[in-house]
């Protein structure tokens, strides 16, 4: 199969999977317990790495931009600079990439192992639909938890930036926070929350599809896991561009 045909085929498979999940939401047999379990695993479990990433990203942003801003005499705006970067772009994208690495790989490996050990077949034979039992709870959990994790990363990023501004560049914390408050708009926040919803669908859709289409035993599980992380990371970055443009058009965010 040539690469383009393969791409279209994969796109169709992921789309069908997502459609199956959406249409399944309106039929009986839901698994609320499993959704809560996945939310805990994905959300609470990813919190430490997301907070750490957010804190140090915010910190390094101030570390790198403060001298430049100082050169132009606008170092009092360092809070605005770090907050808009984080809320609009870095928060959603970095959180999605961290979750893609941690959760995308886990989902793909878990489902792939279940496929090669015939557990998926057993599940169907015992009367349950793997789409409802396994895919839907993971997707719902990702779509709910990723925006929350992004907000947490944004907040910790601003705290990290403030810490660096205060301790390394001796900037008054109130000056930094005022600059943040002036810099970030409601549209920025909304845009920063909408993006992770789509990223959650991308990560969950690709990871579940790759896991469920695993072939070739344990080697196949490894291959699926790598593909899931690489593809979901790439698509998060590509989709981010188009989402940013769409949000810009709708909310006017970032347009001067």
């Amino acid at each position: 199969m040539n690469p383009f045909a393969k791409f279209v085929d994969e796109l169709q498979e992921v789309s069908l999977l997502l459609w199956g999940v959406v249409s399944g939401l309106f039929r009986p047999h839901r698994y609320p317990g499993e959704i809560i379990r996945q939310m805990d695993l994905i959300g609470v479990g990813s919190l430490p790495i997301v907070l750490l990433t957010g804190f140090f990203t915010g910190g390094v942003l101030v570390l790198q931009t403060f001298p430049t801003l100082q050169y132009y005499g606008i170092h009092n705006e360092s809070g605005r600079s770090v907050a808009t970067s984080l809320v609009r772009e870095l928060g959603p994208v970095l959180t999605a990439l961290m979750v893609s690495g941690r959760i995308g790989s886990a989902i793909s490996a878990e489902l792939g192992s279940m496929v090669v050990s015939q557990q998926i077949d057993a599940m169907r034979a015992l009367g349950s639909d793997p789409l409802k039992k396994l895919v839907t709870p993971r997707l719902i959990a990702l779509v709910i938890m990723l925006p929350l994790l992004t907000v947490a990363a944004d907040v910790f990023g601003i705290i990290g930036g403030g810490t660096v501004a205060s301790y390394i560049f001796d900037q008054d914390v109130n000056v930094f926070l005022t600059s943040v408050r002036h810099g970030v708009t409601t549209e920025d926040v909304l845009g920063g929350i909408i993006k992770p919803v789509f990223f959650g669908l991308i990560i969950g859709g690709i990871a579940c599809h790759k896991g469920l289409s695993t072939t070739g035993g344990t080697v196949g599980v490894g291959r699926s896991t790598i593909n899931a992380v690489v593809l979901s990371s790439i698509w998060v970055i590509i989709f981010d561009f188009f989402l940013a443009k769409a949000i810009q058009s709708v909310f006017g965010v970032g347009v001067i």
Binding site: S113, S117, Q118, Q119, D121, A122, M123, R124, A125, L126, G127, S128, D129
Partner: protein, 301 residues
Amino acid sequence: MVSSADIDILDNLEEHLEPTDLEDAVDRPERTLSAIEFRDVHLAFDDKVVLDGVSFTVRRGETKLILGRSGGGKSTTIRLILGLLKPDSGRILIDGEDITDYTEEEMMDVRRKIGMVFQEGALFDSLSVYENVAYRLREQGVIDEEEVEQEVRRMLRFVDLEEAIDKMPDELSGGMRRRVGIARALVGDPEIVLFDEPTAGLDPPTARTICQLAIKLRDLQDVSSIFVTHEMNNLKFLSSEYATVDRDGQVIYEKEGEKLCLINTEVLMFRDGKIIFSGSDERLRASDDEYIQTFIHGHKP
């Protein structure tokens, strides 16, 4: 000593064992329907033909042993019965019901009649033995925990593994995993049980135990089954031994001979997606087909 497991079996005997004479067939017309029927089934994956015009019937209470080399289409046949795969052409009937074009949702009702024992057990790693066996009940919405536990213990007693109820699958040996797999497949008392190479990789005594469970289901519970295997020992056990209950209520296994000749077990042999033999084990052994003789003896005659 009469164990509670044996009392359960006796109860089942009373419930399930019916005379299969003509009068009974008239009274209960569903007994005359085949449990499983394949009509000219074809299936290919890309260029590879997996099943090429397969037709056979499994009668009620009958065990069909499917023999053949790996890749011959044996496991695919089982997956087709469960609706995990769809044929390219031909019809598949379960209990006289044509399931060929059923959707996944329609298949859910059909699957309730069928128990499936997978090659390696296919137990859910994250669930305990108890939860594995209880899985089907929970999916069917049984929420009374007492009822669930009672059924799980009954099934684990049937496979003689009640003591492993709280263990996790990774704490079990290969043979124990298969037996838990059998217990899980039997929840809900399915009319049809499919065994997909359940003894592969097991030591001979454990393999025999698994065969005895299949014999017990066939002879004491009136279950129709398909037993896919490539091991000749399984053929020997299943086609020459039968289970009965002695005066003390204990299940015993006897060899067919002067007292009884087994007619509820037949053999199908697959080769490259085609059935090359269908009949009794005696006829199989007497066949002059070179492929069959090579398969039976492990070398060319």
